[in-house]
Symmetry: C2
Subunit: 551 residues, 2 copies
Amino acid sequence: MPKSMPLPDELVFLPLGGSGEIGMNFNAYGFGPPNNRQWIIVDCGVLFGREGSSPGVDLIMPDIRFLAEQRENVLGIVATHAHEDHIGAIAHLWPSLRCPVYATPFTARLIMGKLDEAGLTSKLKVREVPVGGKLTLGPFSMDFISITHSILEPNLLAIRTPLGVVAHTGDWKIDPDPMVGEATDTAALEVLGDEGVLALVCDSTNALVPGSSGSEAKVRESLTALIGTLKGRVAVTGFASNVARLDTVARAAKVHGRRVALVGRSMQKMVAAARETGYLKDMPPVLDEAEVADLPAHKVLYLCTGSQGEPRAALARIAAGNHPNVSLSKGDSVIFSSRVIPGNEIAIAEIQNKLAANGIALLTAEDHFVHVSGHPCRDELAQMYRWIRPKLAVPVHGEMRHQVAHAALARELQVPQAIVPQNGQMFRLAPGRPELIDEVPSGRIHMDGRVLVAEGEGLAKDRRAMAFAGLLVVSLVVDNKGRIAAEPVVLGEGMPEAVEEAVLKAVEDTLAKNKRSDPDDLAENVRRAARRAAHDAWGKKPMTRVLVTEL
Amino acid sequence: MPKSMPLPDELVFLPLGGSGEIGMNFNAYGFGPPNNRQWIIVDCGVLFGREGSSPGVDLIMPDIRFLAEQRENVLGIVATHAHEDHIGAIAHLWPSLRCPVYATPFTARLIMGKLDEAGLTSKLKVREVPVGGKLTLGPFSMDFISITHSILEPNLLAIRTPLGVVAHTGDWKIDPDPMVGEATDTAALEVLGDEGVLALVCDSTNALVPGSSGSEAKVRESLTALIGTLKGRVAVTGFASNVARLDTVARAAKVHGRRVALVGRSMQKMVAAARETGYLKDMPPVLDEAEVADLPAHKVLYLCTGSQGEPRAALARIAAGNHPNVSLSKGDSVIFSSRVIPGNEIAIAEIQNKLAANGIALLTAEDHFVHVSGHPCRDELAQMYRWIRPKLAVPVHGEMRHQVAHAALARELQVPQAIVPQNGQMFRLAPGRPELIDEVPSGRIHMDGRVLVAEGEGLAKDRRAMAFAGLLVVSLVVDNKGRIAAEPVVLGEGMPEAVEEAVLKAVEDTLAKNKRSDPDDLAENVRRAARRAAHDAWGKKPMTRVLVTEL
């Protein structure tokens, strides 16, 4: 090819988070020749750390250095909806991108709240796209098509480019009656399908679940009836971001003569954001938790945070009996109007056990119809493929088993091709047949305390090793000729005292035998002897460090 | 009361494990006057440690010091059946009790295996009680009544004393067709009920689950049909102790012309124990994993350990592609013929994701009928109460929410009284109305490496704190006048390097300001300054230790 001939334009898809994991959604679309692509980012979310696998890590975010290094080519971040796994990383990663951020009003309001907490509002104002609106960024022209999910204002993005259209679903379900906010704009989806879609990039969460997720309207009927059967105080816990559910509970309370108090900061935050953006106009008034304290038990309903067993949320404190304004006791009831997010089973059970021990009735999705999922089950996925009729299925937002099942379903539905991307894999969507063309650096960044640390640096891994077998520290003092100048000191943190004693003896023996070693060799010999002695005494090999002080 | 008048005999129940937790079953029954009780122990099991809450702890056992201190009064340990949560602590706790141990043959065989591993067989031989047999220990005369569960030889103990009869269920379900071993001896249970029972001490695991647990015979039908639909290699994973299930799988394999290989030590151990005690005589022959390697894929079925995601078990190694003799690939299938034990969701999902990524089909209890629970659901509990008709219900073996629901069910079934015991609570069952009469020391002992450590000593808790925020160590050297004699050394393990640097600076500043302090004050000032500096730099407060070496 002669030098003057420009390379042809391509449309590429690059997930940096959200493939192989539920959370941390981060998808990039690139357009242009390979040496000069322009990018848009769809969603920028977090994953929550787990004590077992990433102890001491609050949030996990994608490693986006590939885009950060060419941030002048990043046209913007577009948020499909306001869940943490879609917007939670914006405030943390934006400083390395410094591009505009776009969202519909409710989502924008919540992102602004996060920017405010991060002290970024002077640098970044989220640009609002109206519900059902359009946005053009360089070669990308996007329609925001209203769908339904478990939060207000979820959007499917119809991303038009000179090389074809991609439908990016974000999170969705088909709820004919979502109670608050728009219903799915099925007409727009059908028109989009008629137009011809290259690829459907789609939520895989419930790809293993047959049937349909069910409607919020049915939950409203069921919860209203259920609350009518209860005596005593009622507490309902669920996801604060499920604004329709909050409305449902408030209305059910009103039907049965109960006043509603919001308990927990995120409940208050979500209701405020919804009201400020024009929703919940008919929701019965909600009170402060202290305002209902003097009402008779059967007049009270608490809407509480903490359905996932979060230790600092309202419900955990109520269950432990140390909430300042809310106390439940024998004869009261707690409704878990939520599902159990995998990994939270034990934390939730601990709270339920405390409540049960105090004679408080538990009503959960296991035994009552009090929740519907916000993600598409198999019948809903099939309906979406019927609407969109893409040439390519790209299952994202799921664990690998969900994505693989989703791809198999798409093939059954006669989608010509399905690919299961992994984070960091760049696929050319057009021109030509979809193809993996590159792998870029990807991975995870930990919010560790207040510091962002690459997972690969191993801090959480080191701490996990300490959680297993403690840390053994030997302190040696040497004089300026490298000779031991004081008794060694041993610290065995997280191990039985007898181990510390055995190690001290082994260190002393090693020092006695190594009087002429150079300090580095000596330290290494001491480290090995100490670790071996710990293993002999305990059966575990602790991480072992030798500190040498030179006089 | 005149001195010469002896105190009256009492029958008491004392759980030291298994109440408020599923696992670690340990129940004691005492008979005699309060100042001279004789004891029997029913079951002596473990709970498995969890990385999040008890990192580095393999096994958790009850604190039995109350009985160990009067071990001359402990007549024996009686095992109801061979699950780890009923026998797993015997080899570890027996040295502090040194009493005889009794069990039916299959259970005895497995306990002996554990004693062998612990080097105890020269000191202790388990005494066999025949299936359906009797055992008398002092004032306790026990009938072993055959019931059904998910293991061979589960027994309900009818414990007769001069003050009345207690029925202790152990773990059970009502399986009319358990496939291997005895069916429930319903005649004996009805006769026992006619005789009059003081208390039913009963399994609560499934007290929240409506209906019945289902029969192994139905699983056999379903699994046989399912395996017939599969091409390629098939691996079935499940609980090795579920001998009937192993037999089911082996027979299903034979029907479809597959040879069965056992993969994983505990599979081999269980089959050997069952055969040595007279079971599985008609089970199709099982091969070694290497023996089937050369057979065509559709002729092979692997029975594997690792259904709970255990990282060192067969399935985890197969999924990771590093099992020496077994490899699965695209077109092969793995059947999870088991339930997910709460807390194992993530570990299991990780294995399933690896398998799915390699194109291996997953079939689980979520989508196919491949498992039944071994514990009684509500209809089965109701049936047991109809048979036994106790005066008192004592729900054990469950989390608090299960025990509370079980007690409520018992009251609905017109049982005159129900108590939910907590570990360490001593209840008088007779004479008179059941009553809480004492609380004795109780708690948990950790098997930490090879060492038994009381949970209260805090080793696992300290390590958990290190997992969250690392360990900061400052090493100071002082001369014989208490003056700083060398540059301080700082080690920040599990924290960003910048934290270590900030701490070093803070330590140097503190030393400069505290030249005249005594060494203890100085160390404490340094500790505080170091911790504060870490918090300022990082947002977390690490555990902080100062080591002082005196010259």
